[in-house]
Symmetry: C2
Subunit: 249 residues, 2 copies
Amino acid sequence: MLETRTLQLFSGLTEQEKDGLLKGGRVRSFPRGEMLFFHGEPVTHFYMILEGNVQLFRENQDGDEKTIHVLKAGQTLCESEILDACRNHRAHGKAVSDVKVMEFPLQWLKQSSRECSTFALNLLSLIAAQAHMAEVEAEHQATMSAPQLVACFLQRLCVLYDFDPKGFDLPYSKTLIASRLGMELETFSRTLAKLKEHGLTVEGTHVKISDLARIEHYVCGMCSISEECTTHQMLEKKAHGRTKRPTTL
Amino acid sequence: MLETRTLQLFSGLTEQEKDGLLKGGRVRSFPRGEMLFFHGEPVTHFYMILEGNVQLFRENQDGDEKTIHVLKAGQTLCESEILDACRNHRAHGKAVSDVKVMEFPLQWLKQSSRECSTFALNLLSLIAAQAHMAEVEAEHQATMSAPQLVACFLQRLCVLYDFDPKGFDLPYSKTLIASRLGMELETFSRTLAKLKEHGLTVEGTHVKISDLARIEHYVCGMCSISEECTTHQMLEKKAHGRTKRPTTL
DNA sequence: CGACACTTTGAAGACGATCAACGCCGGTGG
DNA sequence: CCACCGGCGTTGATCGTCTTCAAAGTGTCG
């Protein structure tokens, strides 16, 4: 299970401070398929995922569901509610696999930010980073083709999960990935075939990116976030321990 | 020209504090078409738009440009850079019309946040709000059809610019709007024809939304942001002076 | 009047969604 | 042990939507 004390969110805090903060939470388990919360409900808690994956999604009245995000251990849920006028959940939260979270009352989040400015800054840094990601996401959706979206997603997966691009297994189902990318499962499936021609093979759940540079060129032609965009660079950064630090104001 | 002292960003500050902050800036003019900054350049300033519209956009090597945002008087540029590890501009900034901005050195932004916590909170609230908008944007791009996107955009335009839905003029060109919505000008043009059947007429630059409820139903069927989503409600909120206030931590 | 930017319209094509059928696998129950 | 089922993924055919290319219309401003 995840070691919470090493999270970004707690970076720069003393061990005592961490202890104090962590006391406010309790561990909860959700079996695969169970809902953590529902879209529209008032936000009551802040969550840190300790184990498993959580799907954030919405549905329209046709019953179609659109996956906003799939979060993994170490990531948090409902952090932005603290600054937000909107007091209700903006999406459903569901356990994709068996999930363990650490759950904190919303008040704890506000209290902690008020009392510990480092924590507050970490939190804000996190929110700002998410904002950036969301923008990039929007741009990708608007400008990239299905194969590009998929390739880009798989690349980023490597960075996020510390996978070796040369060979790794998908952390969750293709159905979920397709939904996450805003495309139909069929489209996703056909897309994988096309990507073979570009040196990206997916067989069953196993992925091989044989020519990373080629894939990056294929994706990043459109990926105008330029400098920071390539997996190559991201992986390198990670290797050098240069993870993003919250900027001090 | 815009009265800067009434901006969200300065809400809750004393007049003296505002004076102090505003002293740090200087007014600059950019004629229509001129660039404020370029994608990839280091961020040097923070801008408040006093007059005119600014286009934020990127281009890929094919020369296609994708508009991220079109900002109007009262809105700000480069605010999120303060919390961001990324020190370079994420997009080009260009004057759509003749533009006047108030320009502040980036240091001013950091300094002010450090010295005035109310200002800091306002700023963060602004960033969080943008994050939310970006998410919504991404979802819309992924789930709505072209006519829905257009209708939704025009609706929001009414709220943002305080236009009467019964009849108003587009604040900038159709070409720019199309680019902003991530579609081709031709698609946009054809889309307007289709929307006539739904009670939304556009002739030249003049827009009439004859049946707001109908349009909202057409759009918001997909618009899963639900509660806060309708123009109707937004306009009402505005009328009652219930603009969003930054939450205190 | 002519140049030019902006917009509209038409026709062809590409792409992704949808519907339908099928294969694969793991689990359940007879 | 086998038959059946349900969840998941693939594949094929078709359809609608958006893009692309091309041409022509509208407006403004010198």
